[in-house]
Every structure is written in C-alpha cells, then in structure tokens.
C-alpha cells in the first residue's frame, strides 16, 4: 500500500513553474530518492510534502489522508534538514526529545524512547552534549534521531549528506541505509548527488525542469536510461549523435558521419537518435578487431581505475579501465576500441542535458 501519493503536484512562482504535474507514489518501507540538478524542483516538492509551501495544483496524500488542509506541524513527518537545524541551546537529549514533548509523551516513556533512538544512531554516549560540541557526522545523527524518535509515517531527508566531507559521506551512506532499514521507516530523499541516490535508494525518481523524467530502480536507471539527461546525470556516459537506418536483411545500422555501427535491438524507428555508451563497457583491443580507433588525448589515474579520453571518428570518447596492474596506453598512443552492440542505448535525439 502506498504511504505517500503525489498526484499532478504543481507549484508555480509567478511565471516560473518549479514543479510541473509531478506524480509519484512511495510504498511502505521503501527508500525513494528525488534526484536532479539544483533548480529541478526537487526541494520545492519536499517543501510541499512537509507543508512549508502550498501547492498551486495537484494533491498530496499520506496514508490515504489528503494533506492539503493539514498544517505542517500536524503532518507528523520526520524531517532531516540540509543544515541539520539542531536547536543550538538544547542538549542532544533535549533536541531528540522535543518532538515527544510536543506530543505530550510522559517523561519516563520519553526517556526510554530517546535512549532507544540514540542507541540506534550510536550516540548514547553523547546524550548530554550541545550541538556546537559535536562533529558534522555526529550532528547529522542527532538530526536523524530527532526525526525518527516520533516514529513518523514518512521520513524526509533534504540533502542530508551534502555538508559532510567525501570520506565521511560514504560512511554515513551505509549508516543511513542501516538505520533506515532497522527503523523500517518509509523514506524520501532529496539529493543532487547521483552516487548517493544510487547507493541508498530502492527507487530513484529523476527530475528535470520540474518534471519527472524517469522512475526506476538504481540499476535500471543507470543501465537502461530512457533519456539522454538521465544517462548523462547518472554516472559518466558517452553521448553520440547518430542516424538509425535499415541495413541488409532486416537488420538496422547506426550511421555516424562516415562510420557505421551495428545497432542493438530496439523499438526505435529510423531517424536521428542519441546513442549512449557507458565508458566502462568500452574495451581496448588489437588493431584488426576494433570498431573505431583513435588517439589517447588525456589519461587520469584514479587509483582503482584509469580514465581515458580518446579522440575518434565518433568524437571524444571516455573509456574507464579497472587498474589491473598492467601497463596502460599513454597520451598520444593510438588505441583500438570495441564494444558489444547490446551495450549501446538508443535514446531520443536531443534529449541530452
């Protein structure tokens, strides 16, 4: 059963449309991400769900209950803000207990629930600290505990990890997933960080210009993007403009300038298409076996992998190779590239970001 149902949700600020007929449903216990670049309307959507912005049109239902007449304080949602928004003059315990206090939970039960939630986020030893005495990661956990302790029907996370440094962010991703699953709470995450969305979510809703572009599992969105924007926004991708044409004997071919490529099976009709090819699906091969050849113009060592930029007849292609300890081509060297036709994704022409 859907906990959260957004139907044709729309928000206009004067002339600009921030959110445009956005429809999404979130199932019980699910972790869904709203992913998109800044200004795509994801934060406005979250604000409307939270009750801090009034929708111009459409509806929001929580557990079948229409939220349009419910004020923000009565919605009972747990919200983790980007800045954490901890109350600076209260200790960790007081911060976490605030929601319970507002719900008039008796003191002894309050104490028990604060302790249990602090235990869940591994902060029991810091219960009497003030926020200013804590690190960013610890504050983040307090914010999470404060939102979870009220046992919300829905947890809203607004860019919760963006204020942490890279290493801590990765740790907190795993932590966040563990806590979400242990608490079993339905969660909606708003983020511009595609790796965060992929690592955490059961489902990703990619937004662009206020609209929902694709809704899929992280694997599907990455591997089978329906749109050039999704393919370039999730991970790295090579986008090639091409023309789909009928080849001999019922097959189809891609023409890209003078180069002809085998096309994958697809439902696309003949005409202009955008071809997307993931850099890690391209391989280096011997002179005779390559589909295209080119010159290495850039080479970046990333530790566990190498990133190459190769100038070819198809334009500059990114190639990613796992670092297996072998010698890799150097800048200026000629290389031959090959891939399997099934790894090509044919997308609507002009749909790239």
């Amino acid at each position: 059963m859907a906990i959260l149902e957004l139907r044709d949700l729309t928000k206009r600020f004067g002339e600009t449309v921030a959110v445009d007929r956005f429809t999404l449903s979130v199932e019980k216990g699910e972790f869904v991400s709203l992913l998109g670049p800044s200004g795509c309307g994801k934060t406005t959507t979250l604000q409307m769900i939270a009750g801090f912005e009034t929708p111009t049109g459409g509806s929001i239902a929580l557990n079948g209950r229409d939220l349009s007449k419910v004020p923000a304080r009565a919605r009972g949602l747990g919200i983790v803000f980007q800045t954490y928004a901890l109350f600076p003059h209260m200790t960790v315990e007081e911060n976490v207990g605030f929601g319970l206090e507002m719900r008039k939970v008796p003191a002894d039960e309050r104490k028990r629930r604060i302790a249990a939630t602090l235990d869940l986020v591994h902060l029991s030893h810091l219960a009497t600290r003030y926020p200013r005495q804590m690190s960013g990661g610890q504050r983040q956990r307090v914010a999470l505990a404060r939102a979870l302790v009220i046992e919300p029907e829905l947890l809203l996370l607004d860019e919760p990890l963006s204020n942490l440094d890279a290493k801590l962010r990765e740790e907190m991703q795993l932590e966040l997933r563990r806590i979400q699953q242990e608490a079993g709470v339905t969660t909606l995450l708003v983020t511009h960080d595609q790796s965060e969305a992929m690592a955490l979510s059961d489902r990703i809703a990619v937004m662009q210009g206020g609209r929902l572009i694709q809704e899929a599992t992280p694997f599907e969105a990455y591997d089978r993007p329906t749109n050039g924007f999704v393919s370039s926004f999730l991970g790295k991708s090579n986008a090639i403009d091409a023309h789909l044409e009928a080849g001999g004997a019922g097959t189809t071919q891609l023409r890209c300038g003078d180069i002809r490529l085998d096309a994958p099976a697809s439902s696309h009709g003949p005409g202009a298409v955008l071809v997307s090819l993931r850099p890690e699906r391209i391989e280096f091969c011997g002179a005779g076996e390559g589909i295209v050849s080119g010159t290495v113009v850039e080479r970046v060592f990333l530790g566990d992998q190498w990133l190459f930029k190769v100038k070819t007849g198809l334009g500059e292609l990114l190639v990613v190779r796992r670092n297996s300890g072998r010698r890799e081509p150097e800048v200026g060297e000629t290389v031959h590239l090959s891939w399997q036709a099934e790894h090509l994704r044919l997308l609507e022409a002009g749909s790239a970001a």
Partner: protein
C-alpha cells in the same frame, strides 16, 4: 591567532590610555580631601562620597535614571524582538523602509530631536512627566536594540524554526522554546546597551525634564553650571562602578564579545 606587530601593540596601548585617561582623572578627583577639583589628589578621602548622601537630589535623580533606563530599555526590546524577526527573517514589501524608520533616530542630530520632543510633549500635555521621558528614550534607543537583535536573527538558521514546526510545535511554542532562546544573546546585549544609552542620555533629556523628573546626567550638568566641587566626580565614580559591574555580570552570563561584536549564536 593573528600576531600583532610592535607598532600595532603600541597603538592599541596609546588608544586604550586615551580612552581611559578621563575616567582615571574623574575617579582620582573623587577621592580628594579638598573642596575643589584637584588632580592628582593631595590625599585620600571619602569626604565627597559622604557628601552624596547629604544631597538627596542626586539620589533621587539616580533613581529616576535607573527607572527610566529599565523601563525604556524593556519597552524598546519588546518592540525590537518582533521587528528584528520580521526584518531579519523574511522579505516583504516595505521591509527596507521599516528598517530605515527604526534606525532613523540615529541620523537626526540629538539637539533637533530634543527640540522636537519638547514641542511634541507640550502638545500632548506630557511635558516633564515620566511617561513622556520614557517615550522619548524609547525612540532614541530603539536603533541600538534593533541592530543587536538583527545581528542575532541574521545569524539564525531559518530551518530550526521549521524543524520545530515539523516536530509538532505551534507558532507560539516555536517562538518561546526555539527562536527566542536562540537570539537571546542579541536581546540581552541590546537591552544592556539601551539601558546604558538611556542612563547616559543628556542632550535630549535636558529639554524635556522638570525638577520632579530630573535624571542623573541632567542633575550633574546643572550642578556643574552652578558650582565646581568634587561632588560631581564622586557621583560619576559611583556611576562608572555601576556600569562596570553591569558589564561584568553580563560578560559572565553571555560573553561581551559575543553580544557587542554580534557573532551570532552558532
């Protein structure tokens, strides 16, 4: 830590000496055993402190000043908390105009204000009354309070009020439990600054007092124009001690740096 050069240290020292020298002279003069203003004093005597007690006029004036300072600082603070939250917290039509209005008393010469208040209070039939004095002092000190409250409000993360709302707090609870405690350093700082400004105010006040509501600065001023005995010095010394004590207490509780530099609360 920024390390200051020798020249910078010397400058700070000279500057501090320049600021403090008049106070040292006043305090020195207050302890003279003689009947005239003498510095350095030829001996140490509490004679002129004793004299304060024999001049109930001064004590009455001090009481008026304390009451006036407390009343006007409190009223000004009560006005400036909502004003500061509105001006610092959101955008609305007339926001800049409102801020300019509240800060405008700073830009009008105090003598002009004094004459204007005199006319105004006469018209309202409030001339020389305590209520009239409070009204005028509130107008004069509002800019000081507003500046400090605004500094606190702009340092405030607007999400914390939203966080409290999302946890079930209504508007009044958010204000009482979250917003007000978060800006309290600015509020207390503003009150203290307002109190001291009111306690010290002479130029405007001299136009609008009558003998029953004479404040301490006005009393000192009129005393000096008639006689020049060290009584003014001893009264001033007591006032200095009182101010220093007030500052020390506030510093202990909230930290003066935080209040006056307006570093905010985070």
């Amino acid at each position: 830590m920024i390390r200051n050069g020798l020249l910078a240290k010397l400058f700070s020292l000279v500057f501090a000496a320049f600021m403090l020298a008049p106070l040292v002279v006043v305090v020195g003069v207050a302890f003279t055993p003689e009947g005239f203003l003498e510095f350095p004093p030829s001996g140490i005597s509490l004679r002129w402190f004793q004299a304060i007690l024999d001049n109930p006029d001064f004590i009455d004036a001090a009481i008026v000043s304390l009451q006036l300072g407390a009343a006007s600082a409190t009223i000004a603070t009560a006005i400036c908390i909502p004003a500061g939250l509105a001006i610092g917290g959101g955008r609305f039509a007339g926001r800049d105009a409102l801020q300019a209005l509240f800060l405008s008393p700073l830009t009008v010469p105090t003598v002009v204000l004094g004459i204007a208040f005199l006319r105004f209070l006469s018209m309202m039939g409030l001339n020389g009354t305590f209520g009239g004095l409070v009204f005028c002092h509130v107008v004069i000190i509002v800019p000081f309070v507003l500046r400090l409250v605004l500094a606190s409000v702009t340092g405030l993360d607007p999400s914390i009020a939203r966080a409290a709302t999302s946890l079930g707090a209504d508007g009044w609870t958010v204000f009482r439990r979250i917003t007000l405690p978060a800006i309290i350093p600015g509020v207390v700082g503003g009150w203290v600054l307002a109190f001291i400004t009111s306690f010290d105010e002479l130029t405007v006040t001299v136009f609008i007092v009558n003998p029953a509501t004479t404040t301490l600065p006005v009393k000192l001023f009129s005393h000096i124009t008639q006689t020049t005995d060290p009584l003014v010095a001893s009264v001033s010394t007591v006032a200095i001690l009182f101010t220093v004590a007030l500052m020390l207490i506030v510093d202990r509780i909230y930290g003066l740096d935080r209040l006056l530099i307006g570093e905010g609360t985070r």
